[in-house]
């Protein structure tokens, strides 16, 4: 986040590397289709680790894919603004897009088994990335690939280069996909549930690895996960998504200490380890989150839902300067623990 960082064109770069506003994604024809992501806005600072947490159906993966223009067929994304380092991601020419994908923005996906081509050696897959982006000779690419494998903690990289994905264990494979993602020397790394399929101890190693790489290379990382506790370890800021919307956006410390949105509170409540025995909680209806809901999508599950909540979707308001939340119950302070204590203000903008 140093002001002397220069962007691609050599100008002094702004601290914000990714600026998204009003992003919406829908399947099918407009008016007839299904809205899956609604009005998502967030900013990512250079060198920051942003965590995006949400459950199935929250739209977190689709949001990331839309930034790289990798949405499945039939899905359409629109945004007021989606700029990466000053460049508009939604209006790039195909050639410019290829320049950014892999080279400036890279992704690590959840399942290393399917992210790697089983019939190509690992070395071939990594050198492919290098040669695509840097026009290196085969020998140079090979050398660089060995360096990359070593940097992600794979022992004996020269031997491993010649092996096939099935000869690696799950954790090793994920290291390989991280190496592939870093081969393009990107500035932004998107990690989409990279450890969900791995054992707990392996997960901890991969997390440590990405943190170390982030520090060494000044990478900006976006972590997408359903595991909120994990973000306590790795994220500077956390975005909470529910049913395709951002419901809370706060610095990690503030979110864990004092979550404002009822959904964030529910999530945090279900992972607290300091309550060794579960207390009877209020029963929640079992319907899945409705991304096309008219009012607040969390209303059916919310103990504090009012008529307004059910009919009008809440908008994100700023609380305490660095936190945003979308909940009607926070404005009038009627929600329990609505941020009135630690930062002295329960008012939204304009109040």
């Amino acid at each position: 986040m140093s002001p002397s960082i220069l962007d691609v064109e050599g100008r002094a770069a702004s601290p914000t590397i990714l600026d998204v506003e009003g992003l919406s994604i829908a399947f099918g024809r407009p008016g007839h289709g299904k809205q899956v992501v609604t009005d998502v806005s967030f900013k990512v600072e250079r060198g920051e680790a942003l965590g995006i947490v949400g459950e199935s159906g929250s739209g977190k993966t689709l949001t990331m894919l839309s930034l790289l223009r990798l949405l499945p067929r039939g899905a359409e994304a629109r945004a007021v603004r989606a700029s990466f380092d000053g460049r508009d991601l939604f209006n790039l020419s195909p050639a410019a897009l290829l320049e950014i994908r892999g080279r400036e923005m890279a992704v690590v996906f959840q399942d290393p088994l399917t992210a790697l081509n089983p019939v190509l050696t690992v070395g071939r897959q990594i050198t492919e990335v290098i040669r695509r982006h840097f026009r290196s000779s085969a020998a140079d690419a090979q050398r660089r690939a060995v360096e990359l494998l070593a940097s992600v903690g794979i022992p004996d990289p020269n031997l491993r280069l010649r092996q096939y994905p099935h000869e690696f264990s799950g954790g090793m494979r994920q290291r390989v996909t991280i190496a592939m993602a870093l081969a393009g020397e990107p500035r932004l790394l998107i990690a989409d549930e990279p450890t969900t399929a791995l054992d707990v101890t392996v997960q901890a190693e991969i997390v440590s690895l990405i943190q170390r790489l982030q520090r060494e290379k000044g990478l900006t990382v976006i972590w997408v996960t359903h595991d909120l506790a994990l973000l306590a370890r790795i994220a500077d800021r956390v975005l909470v998504m529910y049913a395709g919307r951002v419901v809370e956006d706060a610095p990690a410390a503030k979110l864990f200490a004092n979550p404002r949105h009822p959904y964030a509170r529910t999530l945090l409540g279900s992972i607290r380890q300091d309550a060794p025995r579960r207390n009877r909680t209020t029963p929640i209806p079992l319907t899945a989150a409705d991304t096309g809901a008219v009012g607040c999508p969390f209303a059916p599950r919310c103990a504090e839902a009012s008529e307004q909540c059910r009919s009008v979707a809440p908008v994100l308001k700023v609380y305490g300067g660095d936190t945003r939340a979308a909940c009607w119950a926070l404005d009038d302070g009627s929600a329990r623990g609505a941020g009135s204590l630690d930062d002295g203000s329960a008012q939204g903008t304009g109040s």
């Binding site: 901890a204 959904y263 999530l267 579960r278």
Partner: protein, 327 residues
């Protein structure tokens, strides 16, 4: 361990898989030892958690206990009587007392059967109810898991993941078993729904005096629901202790590593803590290390660990550890 009061008792359970090669020629494939001489007691009314990573053998052990897998060696006793070798009708009668809830709510239900039929199956198999009585019992089970009895005619694909898991639980309690194994029953569910299912499990346990074997890799969930925890590594139990004692004061290095690897939802704590990841990867059961199976990754391994496998010993009342350094 005294087996006097145990509901289920396992002694010396060993499960070895031999990989079949098509030709009798060539090098013999190395056998895979999924479980190595495991002893375990489960007491009535308790919730015992089995914790471990891939290759630990926890799922295999659960299946040996409910006798869907026959152990290569060792004995299993139910209420004191040996059930290791029984088969056929006797085994079927026994199945009434054990039920399982599986990880994936999507594939645990036959897509062609209505959920009512799925729940009715144990009742039909054991001849416990027919006709109207059957129908009523199915309705009762649905109500007990928080669903309306009118949904019995619907097919599984009409329900969400959380609801399907509830249906699987309804199926498990239908024939009033004594013992339920939940094999990663929460892993496929969203975090915010897990709490509801945990509550449901607790509720049913209290109402019907059930005993649970709870298998999970998620240590924070385990803490919420279990009375005792058994930690497994590469086919052996390495530590067994009451839940709070385990979390407060783990004795085995692997348990320590496991607990350290789980993130704590407190950023300040996490920032302050220096986490050193465990070396290496979980070894494959086909190629186990000599001596203590954990020694290749253990930060405190000594020479003895390489050569001599430690036995599970009672280091303190109720606290069992398999580690030379804990003696």
């Amino acid at each position: 361990m005294s087996t006097a009061a145990a509901l289920l008792s396992a002694r010396g359970i060993t499960v070895t898989y031999h990989r079949r090669s098509l030709l009798p020629l060539g090098a013999r494939e190395r056998p895979v030892q999924a479980l190595r001489s495991v002893d375990l007691d489960i007491f009535p009314g308790e919730t015992l958690a089995l914790v471990g990573e891939s290759g630990s053998g926890k799922s295999t052990l659960a299946r040996v206990l409910v006798r869907t897998i026959t152990p290569t060696a060792g004995t299993v006793a139910f209420r004191g009587s040996d059930i290791t070798g029984i088969g056929g009708g006797a085994l079927r009668g026994l199945r009434r007392h054990f039920q399982m809830v599986f990880q994936d709510p999507f594939s645990s239900l036959n897509p062609r059967l209505s959920v009512g039929s799925a729940i009715a199956e144990p009742l039909l198999v054991h001849g416990l109810a027919r006709g109207r009585a059957l129908h009523e019992r199915v309705g009762e089970c649905l109500k007990m898991v928080g669903l309306d009895s009118s949904v019995a005619a619907r097919r599984p694909h009409e329900f969400s993941g959380g609801q399907r898991q509830r249906i699987c639980i309804a199926r498990a309690i239908a024939c009033q078993p004594d013992f339920i194994v939940a094999d990663e029953a929460l892993s496929a569910l969203d975090t915010s729904l897990q709490g509801q299912i945990i509550d449901l499990f607790q509720d049913l346990k209290e109402r019907f005096a059930l005993t649970y074997l709870f298998i999970s890799h998620d240590l924070s969930v385990v803490r919420q629901i279990s009375d005792r925890v058994a930690v497994m590594y590469l086919g052996q139990v390495v530590e067994l202790a009451p839940t709070e004692a385990l979390y407060a004061n783990p004795k085995h290095p692997y348990t320590l590593a496991l607990l350290a690897a789980v993130p704590v939802p407190d950023p300040a704590f996490e920032r302050a803590r220096v986490y050193t990841p465990l070396r290496g990867e979980p070894p494959s059961p086909a190629n186990p290390p000599s001596g203590c199976p954990f020694h290749t990754r253990c930060p405190r391994a000594v020479e003895r660990c390489r050569s001599e496998p430690p036995a599970l010993r009672e280091a303190a009342p109720g606290r069992w550890v398999a580690c030379h350094l804990a003696d």
